[in-house]
């Protein structure tokens, strides 16, 4: 190709990416930097700023509510990552079997993932509603496990577990899709060889399926951590009293005594963690 053609192609390429990259630069890259800048200021909702140096960071590191929300986030992450991965794997193995109505079942289990958060949270709240909910009906009236009807979502400690269960319900389908795609490409003769070696179903799962899937499982785990670290809507709309880090940040920035500089400082710390995770993802996962 002549050099004029190469130049023209480069020009066209730059022209085509310019709008998208311009918007992303202005509204993602610049805000990330602006956020670091804001974290050194006392920032008001109307835009007034006074420089406070590292005060936002020292305040934050001396704030027990911050450590509490870090703790809640860690429990949330561990619960949801393990839950979605294990259930996703189980669903993938199950849906890889042949049975009648398999296509119907495969479609139905994707529903939670497709549904808008806002339209399912109220259903979940109703399930756990202390007066009308099926949960309290089963636990108190049918199984007689306790005598009193409890408001699981009203109490932040138990609400955390409802939120974890909700996240598993909502997001295991994506883990399932990733794992099923890989599972379908595992060569059949590996299973036949294992069967000839006398492995039962469990042995075949342990010695063939798991080793074949281990990279995809690692990918799923890493992606779940990355997405759930920033997850806001699913937690806040179901149980606003469960203070994971994003929700704590939201309260700092927009509710009660507004402290936007402090919120910026939390975001900066969280961004550093996130950048580390994304770097790991790009280096390890995208190379596979």
């Amino acid at each position: 190709m002549s050099s004029i053609l190469v130049k023209n192609e480069a020009k066209l390429g730059l022209k085509l990416v310019a709008p998208a990259v311009g918007i992303i630069g202005l509204l993602v890259i610049y805000p990330i930097l602006f956020n670091i800048y804001l974290s050194f200021f006392d920032v008001q909702l109307n835009g007034d700023k006074t420089f406070v140096g590292l005060d936002n960071y020292t305040d934050l590191l001396g704030n027990p509510r911050y450590y509490h929300s870090v703790g809640v986030s860690i429990v949330y992450l561990i619960g949801t990552v393990i839950g979605t991965t294990v259930l996703g794997l189980a669903a993938a193995v199950l849906m890889n079997q042949e049975f009648r109505f398999r296509n119907l079942a495969r479609g139905l289990i994707l529903l939670p993932y497709f549904a808008p958060v806002i339209s399912v949270v109220f259903g979940w709240q109703f399930i756990f509603d202390p007066v009308n909910g099926i949960y309290n009906h089963v636990v108190v009236d049918v199984l007689h496990l306790t005598d009193t009807r409890e408001n699981l979502i009203g109490n932040p400690d138990s609400a955390l577990f409802v939120v974890i269960l909700f996240d598993i319900w909502k997001h295991f389908p994506i883990a399932y899709l990733l794992l099923l795609a890989k599972l379908q490409s595992v060569p059949k003769d590996l299973y036949e060889a294992a069967a000839i070696d006398g492995q039962n179903a469990w042995g075949r799962f342990w010695h063939v399926t798991l080793p074949e899937l281990r990279f995809v499982i690692a990918t799923v785990v890493l992606l779940r951590i990355i997405w759930n670290l920033n997850r806001f809507e699913d937690v806040y709309l179901l149980a606003p009293n469960v203070e994971t880090l994003p929700i704590f940040t939201y309260y700092q920035a927009f509710a009660g005594i507004v402290d936007q500089g402090g919120a910026a400082a939390i975001s900066v710390i969280q961004l550093l963690v996130l950048v580390g995770l994304i770097w790991l993802y790009v280096r390890k996962v995208l190379k596979w």
Binding site: A10, L94, Q97, Y113, L178, F254
Partner: protein
């Protein structure tokens, strides 16, 4: 797999499948059932309503007959006075009717639809240009951009909410309704652009280059080849990406709550539903009916796009 299942294994398999499907579908059945139940029936654990109660849907869709206005006799005499203008009569009547209590569901749905639709169109269009360039053309900083897209997508909205809000305050957009909606639209654009670029880029790479080459041999320019060959070939994927962007905007709550709090007329469904739910008690039937109506368009969209979507999703970068 290779050997036939014993009856016991079949039973176990089918019960596991059934358990999983019930786990996934139960909350939806609960929503549907509660939306159709009369308030006296809410405590009934059965999913089947004793009496079918459609009032919640009727009210949300504006099909309820207006309530009989109960006007005191003294006011009625005033109304009968021919000297009073029609406008004044309306104002008087409005004081006695309960019209102000109705949740303007249709309006919120329209707001949400308009902003989601525009976001979807703009995002898909801009992303298709950029994705084509990144997938097919050679230009400086190309690989940086290809990797940057994924990075940008993974930086969640929570990390950007303070600076984006401050930026829109500083520029003066946050002080008017129009500016606020523009800010929100731009934010939805960046929330959808990266994933749209990622999905479309992966798709364009699967189209054989020889097709464009042939078009260019026939005298098309590069741009024409893209417009006449690549875009029509990608229609199903473009549709899928549009749906995906549409749904992201349809679902968005965080920025809507930050920007639209004081502009009630322009609120989107997630924000309006949350406000409705926290401000009033015991309106399960209406909340559930509203949930069903918010849910249906999305589920229908996804069912239409499902075939391509599953493939696009499993490429790994998609939010979930």
């Amino acid at each position: 797999m290779m050997n036939k299942r014993t009856p016991l294994q079949s039973v176990i398999l089918y019960s596991l499948v059934l358990a999983l499907v019930i786990f996934c579908v139960f909350p939806f059945l609960q929503i549907l059932s509660t939306s159709l139940k009369h308030p006296i029936d809410w405590g009934n654990p059965s999913l089947i309503p004793r009496i079918l109660h459609l009032d919640a849907y009727k009210e949300l869709l504006g099909l309820m007959p207006p309530k009989e206005v109960d006007v005191p006799a003294s006011i009625q005499r005033l109304l009968d006075n021919p000297a009073l203008s029609a406008e004044k009569k309306q104002m008087l009547l409005a004081k006695f009717s309960s019209g102000g209590d109705v949740f303007p569901f249709g309006r919120y749905m329209l707001n949400t639809f308009v902003i989601s639709f525009i976001t979807g169109i703009c995002s898909t269009f801009l992303a298709s240009l950029a994705a084509y360039a990144i997938a097919r053309l050679r230009f400086p900083a190309q690989s940086l951009m290809a990797n940057g897209v994924l990075f940008v997508y993974m930086v969640g909205g929570v990390l950007l909410m303070v600076p984006l809000y401050q930026m829109s305050v500083n520029v003066g957009l946050a002080s008017s309704a129009g500016g606020t909606i523009l800010s929100l639209f731009l934010i939805y654009l960046i929330q959808t652009l990266p994933v749209a670029m990622y999905m479309l880029g992966n798709y364009f790479r699967t189209i054989p280059f020889s097709l464009e080459e042939a078009a260019m041999m026939d005298g098309c320019s590069r741009v024409e080849a893209f417009w006449r060959i690549i875009m029509p070939l990608s229609k199903p994927m473009l549709f899928t990406v549009f749906i995906y962007c549409f749904v992201i905007a349809w679902n968005e709550y965080l920025f809507a709550s930050v920007f639209l709090k004081q502009y009630q007329d322009f609120q989107t469904l997630p924000l309006a539903l949350q406000t409705l739910f926290t401000s009033k008690n015991a309106i399960w039937d209406r909340i559930m009916a509203a949930s069903m109506l918010t849910l249906l368009p999305v589920v229908i969209c996804f069912m239409l796009a499902n075939r391509h979507l599953s493939g696009g999703l499993t490429d790994g970068g998609v939010k979930g």
